[in-house]
């Protein structure tokens, strides 16, 4: 299904796992990517040091997520629960990877979640992670850990939300920057056979639109890809989200830094879009 593209080499994919439904969606997508690129899959579970510290506090208590009962948070009890969670996640990870016949490694570390994930991400080409550690957060909104990791992730990052997977058509935001060129490559790699690529040009006047289009055409060259173009003249988040939704994109590829979109706008965009987003650096 994938095109052979020498420019795009992805060897290692890191997926950060917790027990949340979001991270399970991330796992599925990571496995798909790994099998598509023939990459090695790294699973990482971080035992949150903050939780263990909290448990040492004399007044630490937890509130049951469903029962709403208040319980004393005990270090040993917490250790046991974390161990059980690790075992469960390892089993799911192994099962999913083996089914897809992807070569895999699973490791567990202890520390601050964002730091551990970032440390592991330095050795990976793509980092895949769920949007948040729990589901009561507003839909689309990224969790604090995810935000922190995204802000500092060294390579590409793919963010997923509960119930989604890498879908078609693939939308890509193009502003003419070198990163945007890379985003085009990434989007092409995510295309399925007969899949369509939708390019959103950020251009405030017809001339720049023509020049952006020409760039894309040049990039396209002889490639047989079904293309669709759309121009956005105002670069605010709501209009961008609206454009992506009306185009019905199943996956979105974004350059991590854009000449025309501020970092803040990019982050806000992440909060609003529900489909998987691949940030390209």
């Amino acid at each position: 299904m994938s095109r052979d593209r020498a420019e795009l080499i992805i060897r290692r994919i890191l997926v950060a796992l917790d027990a949340s439904p979001h991270s399970l969606a991330a796992l599925e997508a990571a496995v798909e990517l790994a099998s598509r690129f023939g990459a090695e899959l790294y699973g990482l579970y971080v035992e949150d040091i903050n939780l263990l510290r909290l448990a040492e506090l004399p007044f630490a208590q937890e509130v049951g997520q469903f029962s709403a009962n208040r319980r004393r948070l005990d270090v040993q009890e917490l250790e046991r629960q974390i161990r059980a969670q690790t075992v469960r996640i390892r089993r799911i990870f192994r099962g999913t990877s083996q089914r897809a016949e992807v070569s895999w490694t699973f490791s567990v570390s202890r520390g601050r979640v964002d730091r551990e994930v970032l440390a592991a991400a330095t050795e990976a080409d793509v980092l895949v992670l769920g949007r948040a550690g729990w589901s009561w957060i507003r839909p689309g909104r990224a969790g604090s850990t995810t935000r922190a990791v995204l802000a500092q992730a060294p390579g590409w990052a793919l963010i997923l939300q509960e119930g989604t997977c890498l879908g078609q058509p693939v939308g890509v935001v193009y502003d003419g920057s070198p990163l945007a060129q890379k985003a085009l490559e990434a989007a092409a790699a995510l295309l399925e056979d007969d899949g369509q690529m939708t390019v959103l040009f950020l251009a405030d006047d017809p001339q720049s639109f023509e020049s952006l289009k020409a760039q894309v055409h040049a990039w396209l060259g002889e490639q047989d890809i079904q293309m669709r173009y759309r121009t956005l003249t105002s670069f605010n988040v709501p209009s961008l989200v609206d454009a992506l939704e009306t185009e019905g994109c199943g996956t979105i590829v974004l350059p991590a830094r854009s000449a025309v979109l501020s970092d803040q706008a990019l982050r806000a965009l992440l909060d609003e879009v529900r489909v998987p987003v691949l940030l390209v650096r």
Partner: protein, 812 residues
């Protein structure tokens, strides 16, 4: 005494003269549309069909083969043709109580249309509902309801989180829940750091965490109720969409059936049910039928070919009785009247070891099919089927059909079953049965006279007068045509009529047992074709009769052979004292034949009793014993009025090993006894039949033709001597329909048949002596049989008196 006149050949067989018929062959005759020889039964049928009151059902009584079924069917069909077509009946689901399906009555032919309409509705339901539920409107509204919940939740959490952040506290997720932790520089404070805090600050922090936890608890507790609220709103939305989607479809059908309030009501139920369950059957088989286990549902939806998936089955219509093709009222013959075939049944399907059912599996019985018309059942069959008779009576009494399994009726089993609504019944029932069954039922079943008030009594014979013979000829003609047999020429018809008389053994009557006549015609037609004839002639009919006899007379032949070979001792010539040839009839199926029996008597001095050896060894039946008692009474009255009867005698049927019944041999026994007393020999060339009364009169017996022929055959085998013959009661002369060879022998003087009125006539014939009548001195004249008898009795009485005196003296 008048000397007895032997019968002439002409008196032995009443011919039907073929020349009296005005046709050549039966081809020329018109079909007969009336029933011959059953005026009483026909009257009863007309009455029974005409009267509408309750309980006037018909019982056709008559021996097998009298045409009960034909007559009843014919009259029912005539009446049914003019009767209105009864309504159609459907069962539909009861949405309130699904185990009690509802019944709907529709004019004939409308049932099938209703079923079609509902099938179409069911077929279009899927499309209509999925269109509604896949519409943008629905999706958008559903999304909005769902996200409202999520937004509400996240709003509360967001607030809480922000509140916590302000206080330097973070909300963390633990594997099992949520917890608040004090934060310093983005990390949870360690216990040492907390310990180092000033007392007051620490307390404040703890109370802040406490406060936040309480608030968190409050929020978490509210979540289920928010979810419920959302569910309710989603359900309401589903209902609204489904109502909109199916409302139009259902309104359309409701309008079509607006004259039938029950259908309108049912359709309301259907709409309500569809709306309640709309999402279920859009979601596919795994969510169907909430109250059945999943595996069961899968299996059922797989098999239920006729009704589609299980959910949709309940909107279908089970058209129980369909009269769309009917003209007039139905006439139903139930040949296998089991309980379930009568009242209908509820079938079950075995699923995963359990039996399940629904209203679609209700099957009609004969009572349903015959409702509004006529039902014909064989009485013997229904009485031999367990509970069938009770079931029929209950339906007739209550005038409604209730479908219940036998198990349910007896409260034996309680598998899940249905109690379908009852259907009002208005059916005229005719039972067909033998007289014995009718009288037994009348006597033993108190319900029977209430429910079967009309007795249609079928006769076995009719008068053999001119008019009837014409009718008989036409009946033979229609029978031959209906059965596609060859036509008969007039000699054939005459021969069939004669045989009809022979069947009932009566010159004045002719049989109306149509089965026998039809068999004879079929067989005669076969022989006619074998003989290369175009029409059935008298010879063909005769051949058929002879062949019938030949096929069944092996035993007769054995008996005759045994006599010929002197294994069974019969004398047909010479004279013997105390020995006579009696005649008996053996009945084998529908074939009967006569044979002579040697009867002997012995007399000796005794106390005046006649010993019937047959009775002593219990080989004699009660009627036979009665005959023997009568003859001893005759003996005492005639000869021993004034002297004690001091004689004992014994009577026996020689070489009889299987029992004797009937009194037709009592005259023969009397002759043998008198011969033994008088010591006068009897002619063995004569055989005797006839019963005797206390005055010595000889009375009619049955089977006279067979008896005469039986003796004739034995005589002929030994060679006819010219003086052989049979004594028959004079009153049996009217029953003579003898075989042609017997008639011919009589004509040639080779064989003789004497009609006897009293014992004295018989005595004279058998002894060749005058019998003698009492003169003025109350004495029989010398040289008569009676005188010899009396003298012998007086002599024995005196001897006995002398004995008694001697005994007394010896004792004294």
């Amino acid at each position: 005494m008048t000397p007895i006149q032997e019968l002439e050949a002409g008196q032995l067989y009443q011919h039907t003269d073929p020349a009296r018929f005005g046709f050549e062959t039966t081809e020329e005759l018109e079909d007969l549309d009336q029933v011959v020889g059953q005026p009483r039964a026909v009257e009863a049928m007309k009455f029974g069909m005409g009267i509408k009151a309750r309980g006037y059902n018909i019982f056709a009584v008559g021996p097998p083969g009298t045409g009960k079924r034909t007559v009843v069917t014919q009259y029912f069909e005539q009446q049914a043709k003019e009767a209105p077509v009864p309504p159609d009946w459907c069962y539909v689901n009861n949405f309130e109580e699904s185990h009690r399906p509802k019944v709907i009555q529709l004019p004939a032919g409308k049932g099938i249309a209703f079923r079609q309409d509902m099938d179409e509705l069911v077929d279009s339901l899927g499309t209509a509902l999925s269109a509604a539920f896949e519409s943008e409107e629905y999706q958008a509204r559903r999304q909005s309801i769902a996200s409202e919940l999520q937004e509400r939740q996240s709003e509360y959490f967001q607030d809480l989180q922000e509140k916590a952040q302000e206080k330097g506290v973070a909300l963390l997720r633990t594997p099992a829940g949520l917890a608040f932790a004090p934060i310093r520089e983005g990390e949870v404070m360690s216990s040492d750091e907390v310990q180092e805090l000033p007392e007051e600050e620490r307390k404040q922090m703890e109370s802040q965490v406490e406060e936040l936890q309480t608030e968190l608890q409050k929020i978490v507790r509210q979540v289920p109720s928010w979810q419920r609220e959302t569910q309710d709103r989603l359900r309401e939305l589903n209902r609204e969409m489904a109502n909109f989607a199916v409302g139009g479809l259902i309104d359309e059908i409701q309008e079509r059936y607006s004259d039938f309030p029950k259908i309108v009501e049912h359709l309301d139920g259907v709409q309500k049910d569809i709306v309640e369950n709309a999402r279920d059957f859009l979601a596919g088989p795994q969510q169907e039928e909430g109250n059945l286990p999943a595996a069961l549902r899968g299996a059922m939806s797989g098999q239920s070919g006729e009704g589609g998936s299980l959910v949709l089955r309940r909107y279908r219509v089970n058209l129980l009785v369909d009269h769309s093709q009917a003209e007039g009222a139905p006439v139903v013959h139930e040949d296998n009247p089991t309980y379930q075939n009568l009242v209908g049944r509820v079938e079950h399907i075995a699923q995963m070891g359990a039996l399940v059912t629904d209203f679609n599996l209700i099957k009609p019985g004969a009572l349903h099919r015959a409702n509004g018309g006529f039902l014909i059942i064989d009485a013997r069959k229904i009485l031999t089927q367990p509970y069938a008779w009770e079931g029929l009576k209950r339906a007739l009494r209550s005038r409604e059909i209730r479908i219940e399994s036998v198990g349910q009726m007896l409260s034996l089993i309680s598998t899940i079953s249905l109690e379908p609504e009852t259907i009002p019944m208005n059916t005229k029932v005719a039972l067909l049965g033998e007289p014995m069954l009718y009288y037994l039922l009348y006597q033993l079943d108190p319900d029977f006279p209430e429910l079967f008030k009309v007795q249609a009594d079928f006769a076995t014979s009719m008068d053999r007068n001119d008019e009837n013979q014409e009718l008989y000829a036409r009946m033979i003609a229609s029978l031959a045509r209906r059965e596609e047999l060859m036509p008969l020429d007039r000699t054939g018809v005459a021969r069939v009529i004669e045989h009809g008389a022979r069947i009932v053994s009566d010159t004045q009557k002719v049989s109306v047992q149509m089965r026998d006549i039809a068999d004879l015609l079929r067989e005669a037609s076969y022989w006619a074709s074998q003989n290369g004839h175009d029409v059935i002639t008298a010879a063909d009919v005769q051949e058929a009769i002879d062949a019938q006899i030949y096929r069944s007379d092996q035993l007769r032949e054995r008996v005759e052979e045994a006599i010929e070979r002197d294994i069974v001792l019969i004398d047909a010539r010479g004279d013997k004292i105390g020995q006579i040839n009696g005649l008996s009839v053996i009945q084998l199926g529908n074939f009967a034949f006569g044979r002579p029996n040697r009867i002997t008597a012995r007399a000796w001095m005794g106390k005046g009793n006649v010993v019937d050896i047959e009775r002593e060894v219990e080989l004699g039946g009660p009627i036979h014993s009665k005959g023997v008692y009568i003859l001893s009474a005759f003996l005492g009255e005639r000869y021993a009025e004034e002297i004690p009867l001091s004689l004992s005698a014994s009577l026996v049927f020689e070489q009889s090993y299987s029992g004797v019944e009937g009194d037709s041999a009592s005259s023969a026994e009397l002759y043998a006894l008198l011969s033994a007393i008088a010591e006068v020999p009897l002619k063995q060339s004569l055989a005797v039949t006839g019963s005797v009364n206390q005055h010595g009169g000889v009375q009619a017996i049955g089977g006279v033709n067979q008896k005469i022929e039986g003796f004739f055959d034995v005589c002929r085998a030994e060679g006819l001597t010219g003086d052989q013959g049979v004594l028959i009661p004079a009153s049996n002369v009217q029953h003579l329909m003898l075989r042609q060879d017997v008639v011919d022998a009589v004509k040639e003087g080779q064989f003789h048949i004497y009609p006897v009125e009293n014992v004295d006539q018989g005595l004279e014939l058998l002894t060749g002596m005058p019998a003698g009548e009492r003169d003025e001195e109350d004495k029989f004249p010398e040289g008569t049989v009676n005188r010899r008898i009396e003298d012998r009795l007086v002599a024995i009485a005196e001897k006995r008196q002398a004995f008694a005196k001697d005994e007394k003296e010896e004792l004294g």
